[in-house]
């Protein structure tokens, strides 16, 4: 069922009904997923439904300011709505959590997960990521910082898993080659 977005913006109640019917399930699912992964346990149905309603309100608020920004030439509506729904959910969860969480605690939560022994010390040299392409940096972050599998990274990038392995290999080779030229580099002489 195609929904006429312009008709929604123009205030056509039938078009809005169709829009809601067509997309509520996706928005509900996206919000539910964000709430499940957000701070606090579980996914209270009332909270999810409330956030879904907030998503619809945001879309049409201020004469459909948000809905007007959607451009079908740049992305699919389902994808865009999923991201909007997630953002509204995260915003709501943060507002809800703020009274009991300090900014410092938030920073800890947001930091890339590392075990204490993995935490860099003041003496730990920074890795020269500037020698890598943006794609190579992204692959290493996903593989090593987030510890995602090759298949998961391939899905993220919408490429073949072999492309991920190849990109990782080239990135590490380039890093090691660069570091081997540096004096007293902790990566010197290591292979892999």
């Amino acid at each position: 069922m195609d929904v006429d977005i312009q008709a929604c913006i123009d205030g056509d109640p039938r078009a809005w009904d169709q829009f809601v019917t067509r997309w509520s399930k996706l928005i509900f699912s996206a919000v539910n997923r964000a709430v499940l992964r957000g701070p606090g346990a579980g996914s209270p149905r009332d909270l999810v439904e409330d956030i879904v309603q907030e998503v619809f309100v945001r879309l049409i608020k201020d004469d459909c300011r948000l809905l007007r920004t959607y451009d079908p030439a740049r992305a699919g509506l389902s994808t865009w709505l999923t991201l909007v729904a997630r953002s509204v959910a995260i915003d709501r969860l943060r507002r809800k959590a703020r009274p009991v969480r300090s900014l410092e605690a938030s920073e800890e939560t947001l930091a890339v997960a590392r075990t204490p022994e993995d935490q860099p010390t003041a003496d730990t040299p920074s890795i020269p990521l500037h020698v890598l392409t943006s794609r190579q940096r992204l692959v290493l972050r996903l593989l090593f910082d987030e510890e995602r599998s090759v298949e998961e990274v391939a899905r993220f990038l919408a490429v073949d898993p072999q492309t991920v392995r190849s990109t990782k290999h080239k990135a590490l080779s380039r890093l090691r080659a660069h570091l081997s030229l540096q004096p007293e580099s902790p990566g010197m002489g290591r292979s892999g």
Binding site: G11, D17, V20, S24, K25, L26, F28, S29, A30, R33, R37, G38, P39, V52, Q53, F56, V57, R58, I60, L66, T69, R74, A75, S78, T79, W80, T82, L83, V84, R86, S87, V88, I90, D91, R94, L103, E107, L110, A111, V112, R114, D118, P120, T124, S126, I127, L129, S134, L138, L140, R141, L143, F144, E146, F156, K168, L172, P186, G187, R190
Partner: protein, 178 residues
């Protein structure tokens, strides 16, 4: 499953260095959600894709947004994921009906305004046309009060959050906590 994980030597090598970054890079605005959506849908050209991947390599929150979007879309496409939220649908439909009522009211005001002007002229001229305007004016006041109360409710529900970077392009921030 272990064969899918990063090679331990490579991981050890990576962890010899400080590779940590904040969840969101400082002083750098995250891209609009439409651009992230374009990345998920593979609609970015080469330069835009490279630019976005450079941001993604430093922004945990935007990476998480991509993962979330792909997961949610796949989930709905494959299994339907959750039951159809009828209560949500009913509420959202009502919302737009209330939100658009203002336009219809304004149109009515326009028509009644013209009628009222004629009536006023008629009254000045001694014609008996005043009674024709009294009913619609009362209705207008009621309708405007409805619109006003809806607007107030709207604003109190969505106060701006000073700790969240909203504006980008959409007025919606694109990050998420882990």
């Amino acid at each position: 499953m272990s064969n899918l994980l990063p090679h331990s030597d490579d991981l050890d090598f990576w962890r010899l260095y400080d590779t940590s970054v904040p969840a969101r890079p400082a002083n750098v605005a995250c891209p609009p959600l439409l651009e992230l959506a374009g990345y998920v849908d593979d609609r970015l050209d080469g330069a835009a894709r490279e630019r976005l991947e450079a941001h993604l390599s430093d922004c945990l929150e935007c990476r998480d947004a991509i993962v979330h979007a792909r997961g949610a879309l796949e989930s709905v496409a494959s299994s339907g994921d959750v039951a159809s939220p009828l209560a949500v649908i009913r509420r959202a439909r009502t919302l737009r009906a209330r939100g658009t009522r203002g336009r219809h009211v304004l149109r009515r005001i326009g028509r009644w305004g013209v009628a009222a002007a004629f009536a006023a002229l008629a009254a000045v001229g001694g014609l008996e046309a005043g009674a024709a305007t009294s009913g619609p004016q009362t209705t207008v006041e009621t309708a405007l009060q409805d619109e006003l109360s809806f607007g107030l409710l709207d604003e109190t529900r969505f106060e701006d959050d000073p700790l969240i970077t909203w504006p980008v392009e959409l007025g919606v921030e694109s990050g998420e906590e882990q």
